[in-house]
């Protein structure tokens, strides 16, 4: 009974982790840029942006039990902050193109500070974190949780999309912000820039992953699990679960914000369709497919689902929604801990046999 546990631990020990992590890093940072043509590398960069959001979902949902259906909101805040800077930068003192089209004559006050790259980059993190802190404080302090919290985050995503679409002159409406040219002195569409952006996304994801892993393994991470499994009991240990949840939610929001900001130069657009109820849910689905209880599972799920979506919508566009729905039903029914859970079981079983 104890023997397999020990050998599983050997598999999961620090040396094994370092080996696997380095292998994945070499694959991502060296092999992928060499082997993939620019278009495919761009796709991978996009999936890795989603993986950053998924990492945050894994943290909030898998570890903290907060099912957040509104990560698109934070992704969008980060994306629009970046997009606004790029638009102003491209316009070089004039009005951004879409404002001219919708008849806006003077740069709105909201936009002005985003001309400053330092301010814009700060807002990429500050805005999502501030919204998450505010919402988390108001909601978790009142012990609103579980499905209620999920519903509220979803309502927020729905509200934000309607707001963005409606404020045409301010946000570009349905089209969002697009047609970027210059990215910090480089041609954003050039293969060179895109390769650099890919590397940037991969490194940011790796760093955030390590950070999240450290968080999970710290005492705070234990506390987070305890809050997930018995919030009321945690209170009687003298901790305020609302604080623990709010902070974790804010971290996951910050990650989504960073992902949104990276997404904009990589894909060249940020629009309401990318951050509403459906995209937010799709990422949660991806995390469930990959395995919500393991951070690596969340990342894996986002990449796998990204590829699946691209492949099937190219090959079998009509079947994709059926497939996605069916896959989801199957995963929830047969493998609620996702690919990562299945893999862990497999390792455990093999170890038990030897």
């Amino acid at each position: 009974m104890t023997a397999p546990a020990v050998s599983v631990r050997r598999w999961q020990g620090p040396a094994a982790f370092a080996a696997v992590f380095s292998a994945v890093a070499v694959l991502a940072l060296v092999a992928a840029p060499l082997l993939l043509e620019p278009f495919r590398l761009g796709l991978l960069a996009k999936y890795l942006c989603y993986a950053i959001v998924a990492l945050g979902i894994g943290l909030a949902w898998g570890q903290g039990g907060m099912l957040t259906l509104g990560q698109g909101v934070f992704f969008g805040l980060g994306g629009y902050a970046m997009g606004m800077y790029l638009k102003l930068n491209d316009a070089a003192g004039d009005l951004p193109d879409f404002m001219v089209w919708s008849g806006v004559e003077k740069l709105p006050a909201l936009w002005k500070p985003f001309g400053n790259p330092v301010f814009a980059l700060a807002m990429v993190v500050v805005l999502p974190v501030a919204v998450a802190l505010l919402l988390g404080t108001l909601v978790f302090r009142q012990r609103v949780r579980g499905a209620y919290f999920a519903i509220l985050t979803q309502a927020l995503a729905a509200a934000l999309v309607i707001l963005l679409v409606g404020q045409q002159g301010l946000t570009g409406g349905t089209n969002g912000l697009t047609n970027f040219f210059d990215f910090f002195g480089r041609d954003v569409a050039a293969d060179e820039t895109q390769r650099g952006l890919y590397l940037l996304v991969a490194i940011v994801l790796g760093a955030l992953y390590l950070g999240a892993r450290q968080l999970v393994r710290s005492r705070f991470g234990r506390l987070l699990l305890a809050v997930r499994d018995g919030e009321d009991r945690v209170r009687f240990l003298g901790y305020d679960p609302a604080t623990v949840k709010t902070l974790t939610f804010a971290v996951s929001a910050g990650m989504a914000g960073i992902a949104g900001a990276l997404f904009v130069p990589v894909v060249g657009i940020i629009s309401p369709a990318l951050l509403g109820v459906v995209p937010s849910l799709e990422l949660v689905v991806a995390v469930a497919v990959g395995g919500r209880f393991a951070l690596a599972g969340a990342v894996l799920g986002a990449v796998v689902m990204g590829y699946a979506r691209t492949y099937f919508s190219e090959e079998l566009p009509d079947a994709w929604l059926y497939l996605q729905g069916a896959l989801f039903v199957l995963v929830m029914t047969l493998a609620p801990s996702g690919i990562a859970g299945l893999a862990a079981n497999l390792v455990r079983r093999r170890e038990a046999r030897t």
Binding site: S218, L223, L225, R235
Partner: protein
């Protein structure tokens, strides 16, 4: 006469029209081991719920070491030094026994210091592992523990928090006789350097370990005293035995 640690005055709790507590006065001195008994619905658990902030009373006062406890949130009351267990023990099944105890012991650390990983095991946690007899299970997930072991782990988690007042809600309910014995020993040990209030139904357990007893009945304090005094009180016999007799008559009819 010991100095009062907990002072409860004319406490009232109503659920809708039902008065769960109807003017309870209770004083518990420092270092006491106090048993709280009474038939079902007497208000024992409600009383503990009010002290620990889980239930808001409709009137009265609860003072602990000069602090007014009413209106404070649960975790704030714990931070003042009041700890409790529940009838159905709740431990964190996904964490190991050691992690459960460590989490309980870390509650006074500043939040940012929790971001570091745990290195080693603190003295008080080691001591608690010994006291509760769970040292050999330190690395196991709490989910695999038996009912009795869970209760001991809960008591251990209380001890490492060094509360000035412990409230145990039916610690031996559902336990085997061996487990009861072990819990009794643990209780005596804990009571040596803590103030403890125990809610208990079990009369045998009461006879063996109780010194001071408070009897609650229909939301009021019926009587207080030593085990012998309380047992000799005809009113106590009435509520415990009288009900049994009525029940027997019902059954005959």
């Amino acid at each position: 006469m010991t100095e009062a640690l907990l002072e409860i005055r004319s406490l009232e709790v109503a659920f809708g029209g039902f008065r769960a507590l109807d003017g309870v006065d209770l004083t518990v001195g420092r270092g006491e081991l106090r048993f709280l008994i009474g038939p079902n619905g007497a208000g024992k658990t409600t009383l503990i719920d009010v002290i620990t902030g889980l239930t808001r009373p409709t009137g009265g006062s609860v003072r602990f070491e000069g602090h007014d406890l009413l209106g404070r949130r649960e975790h704030e009351i714990v931070r003042l030094g009041v700890g409790r267990t529940f009838q159905t023990s709740v431990v964190f099944e996904e964490l190991t026994v050691l992690e459960n105890l460590d989490l309980a012991a870390s509650f006074r650390r500043p939040l940012w210091s929790l971001l570091r990983r745990r290195r080693g095991v603190s003295e008080e946690v080691t001591a608690a592992l010994e006291t509760t007899g769970l040292a050999s299970l330190a690395g196991s997930k709490a989910g695999v523990l038996s009912h009795g072991q869970r209760q001991w782990l809960e008591i251990g988690m209380l001890i490492v928090q060094r509360p000035r007042l412990l409230l145990l809600d039916e610690p031996v309910a559902g336990m085997s006789s061996g487990e009861r014995e072990r819990t009794g020993e643990l209780l005596t040990e804990v009571a040596r350097d803590h103030t403890v209030i125990v809610v208990e139904h079990d009369m045998d357990f009461l006879r063996r370990y109780a010194s001071q007893v408070t009897v609650l009945h229909e939301g009021r304090v019926l009587t207080e005293g030593s085990v012998e005094q309380v047992r000799a009180d005809p009113r106590v016999q009435e509520i415990y035995l009288g009900r049994a007799r009525e029940g027997a008559e019902d059954a005959v009819r």
